[in-house]
């Protein structure tokens, strides 16, 4: 059974199809998929070319959390709640930015929903505009590199911690470079009643400026440098962290992506590189990443 594709229009090397397929597979197709407007929606749900093998709904950009909450409530009211898991697939723009209100409402009321954010770190569907998930220094069309500006300034919002702060039973970060780990997390999430939040790092080949065949390698480097720590919370308690034997310097991750290339030439680049290394070091400290 193909739960997602073939026939979707994602770019060769796109990160998120690995996550979508992996999540639905590990839940044995017992999924009602709720999708916010974005790249995933556009590549999979054109009228007449739907590629979803599970029931699917797309409403708006910023309301997936509430739509999922409504579906979950309806299933409960109609005694159909054992039929399927309600699973949101939303991009980082829909999650971190415009849809954070409905996601917060969903988590606050603790609706029994697995919310999966595929994080490609910008509005990639519309051509790489910055989101609050965009890391500092990234060159996007709305934070362009110029004489005075080194790309995005300011930090990436920590949505996993925001989910944890809502008191949800389960929250985790994951990466498409570790698909088994991601699938295990989805399966674990499904064991809890209430709102679950999983954020999966998924490169965008065009927005990040990487070779399609390097998708997995690049996302792996994000983890190995400490910039994208893989963590897992149950009832607010950090229960698991992916340890790193030999944490790599952030430059290794940054230099192979076009969005960060300017940092190695720009006047303010050094400062941003230091900031990024500091973020990785802080992550290592906070989560005890170094084995």
């Amino acid at each position: 059974m193909n739960y997602f594709g073939p026939g979707h229009g994602a770019c060769p090397g796109c990160g998120f199809p690995i996550a979508i397929r992996g999540a639905i597979e590990v839940l044995d197709g017992k999924v009602i998929a709720v999708n916010s407007t974005g790249c995933l929606e556009i590549v999979s749900s054109m009228y007449g070319r739907n590629t979803w093998g599970v029931p699917y709904i797309h409403s708006l950009f910023e309301n997936a959390g509430a739509v999922a909450a409504g579906i979950e409530t309806a299933l409960r009211a109609m005694k159909r709640n054992n039929e399927a898991h309600v699973v949101v697939f939303a991009g980082d723009g829909a999650t971190f930015d415009i849809g954070i209100g409905t996601l917060s409402g969903m988590m606050d009321r603790d609706h029994n929903v697995i919310y999966i954010c595929y994080d490609n770190e910008a509005y990639q569907n519309t051509g790489n505009q910055q989101s609050m998930a965009t890391p500092p220094g990234a060159n996007t069309t709305t934070t362009p590199v110029g004489k005075l500006k080194p790309g995005k300034t300011g930090r990436k919002k920590d949505m996993v911690e925001i989910a944890v702060a809502h008191g949800v039973p389960y929250a985790a970060s994951a990466s498409i470079a570790y698909p088994k780990d991601f699938q295990r997390k989805v399966k674990r999430a499904a064991e809890f009643e209430g709102s679950k939040y999983i954020q999966v790092h998924a490169p965008c080949v065009t927005g990040w400026g990487i070779d399609g065949k390097l998708t997995v390698e690049v996302s792996k480097l994000a983890v190995e440098t400490g910039l994208y720590p893989l963590v897992e919370y149950e009832y607010g308690k950090l229960v698991k962290v992916k340890k790193l034997k030999q944490r790599k310097p952030v430059e290794e991750y940054l230099k192979i992506q076009r969005r960060f290339r300017h940092l190695f030439k720009h006047e303010m680049g050094k400062e941003i590189l230091e900031q990024l290394q500091k973020i990785a070091d802080e992550n290592a400290e906070k989560y005890g990443l170094d084995a």
Binding site: E41, Y47, G53, P55, H58, L60, A66, T73, M78, G101
Partner: protein
């Protein structure tokens, strides 16, 4: 059972009797008491298997009823003013997705300036969303139209959201005697919701697909066709309602004393009983005046209006909303219905933001129109003299 109740209770009770599966709402004056009553019923186990959820915003409430409806639930929400404007993106979407959500709008003016008081600018502003709009004159009519709204919205020939518009405070907070329906009567009229499609793992469908130019237009025109069919379905259901309850609310419009009238006043909502009273007094004085009550605003009953007003030379439209920079909304629609006839239309903008519409005002306007003292053009009544402050 006839009881003196407040509007919000009459509305909440009718919602309960309609057996929704999901109610999601967010409080806003003057709608709040409707959902408070429903929340209380829920807390006391009086809503059957229904789930009641307080959302994080009206936007969230509308999105929740959208999701619930897509899952095959009968879903209800209520709001007012800013809440409706905040919902509007979702409501356009729900209509396009053909989800038969029912809403009650406790009509209230929109900000700025902030005002919690009544006019109908809120619901009028989203008249183009593809949502059926019905305006009521009393709490009895509001009570009766809620089961009917579900029935019409859920009809396979319709499948559009349905908005019952009830004047905030003037009706929602007013005590009126209401013949409260019983469960048996409502059950006889309103069968359980049987959705054509729903989100179901055993029969997967994709809802809310995007449509590129070769497909988009057909979806939107299909909504027009559905709205046209809704017009017929509503008339059938109005008749069935009369047969069942003995209460005849008429069709899309109700023409009173219009046959020989020289002047007809067109009114919508809670101002209707006032206009009716004025007309009936003037009739006693031998004046040939009538009233046309518009109940259904979308689908707009052009044919019925043209028929009812074909003999009236002079038509006054009581406007409680604006389309700033253009003809007031109801006037524009009435004029288009009358196109080609020799009628003179007098748009009277009044009662905005809860300003009182006194009987004397309505009487004076009618007298002035009869005597040819005013011109058939937009005028503002009950307006204080004021100086525009241009900084």
């Amino acid at each position: 059972m006839r009881k003196v109740v407040r509007g919000f209770y009459a509305i909440a009770e009718a919602v309960r009797l309609s057996k929704p599966n999901v109610i999601a709402a967010y409080p806003i004056t003057p709608q709040t008491e409707i959902v408070e009553n429903l929340a209380e019923m829920y807390a006391n186990g009086e809503l059957g298997d229904a789930e009641y959820v307080t959302a994080e915003s009206e936007f969230g409430a509308a999105s929740m009823v959208l999701g619930a409806s897509a899952a095959g639930a009968r879903a209800f929400t209520a709001t007012s003013s800013q809440g409706l404007l905040l919902m509007s993106e979702v409501l356009y979407n729900a209509a396009g997705m053909r989800l038969p959500i029912v809403l009650v709008i406790a009509n209230r003016s929109v900000s700025a300036p902030l005002s919690i008081w009544n006019d109908i600018q809120d619901s009028i502003s989203i008249r183009d969303a593809g949502i059926i709009q019905l305006y009521v004159e009393s709490n009895q009519e509001a009570h009766d139209m809620i089961p009917l709204a579900f029935k019409v919205a859920e009809n396979r020939d319709v499948l559009l959201p349905f908005m019952v518009c009830v004047d905030g405070f003037k009706l929602t907070h007013a005590y009126e005697p209401v013949d409260l329906l019983d469960q048996e009567t409502v059950d006889k009229f309103l069968p359980p919701y049987n959705p054509v499609v729903k989100l179901d793992v055993n029969n997967p469908v994709a809802m809310g697909c995007y449509a590129p130019p070769p497909y988009y237009m057909e979806f939107r025109v299909a909504m027009e066709y559905a709205m046209e069919r809704a017009s017929k379905v509503m008339l059938q259901e109005f008749k069935k309602w009369y047969k069942l309850t003995g209460r005849d609310w008429g069709g899309h419009v109700v023409a009173e004393n219009c046959e020989d009238a020289e002047v007809v006043v067109v009114a919508m909502g809670s101002v209707v009983p006032l206009v009716r009273e004025v007309i009936s007094r003037m009739r006693q004085d031998g004046k040939r005046v009538g009233m046309l009550k518009i109940r259904t605003y979308r689908p707009f009953p052009s044919r019925e209006i043209r028929k009812a007003l074909k003999n009236a030379g002079k038509i006054i439209v009581i406007e409680r909303a604006l389309s700033i920079g253009a003809e007031p909304p109801v006037t524009a629609d009435v004029k288009s219905a009358l196109f080609g006839l020799n009628s003179e239309v007098y748009p009277v903008v009044t009662g905005l933001g809860g300003r009182d519409i006194p009987r004397e005002l309505v009487e004076r306007i009618i007298e002035d129109v009869m005597k040819g003292k005013i011109k058939p053009e937009k005028r503002y009544e009950g307006l204080n003299e004021f100086e525009e402050v241009i900084p």
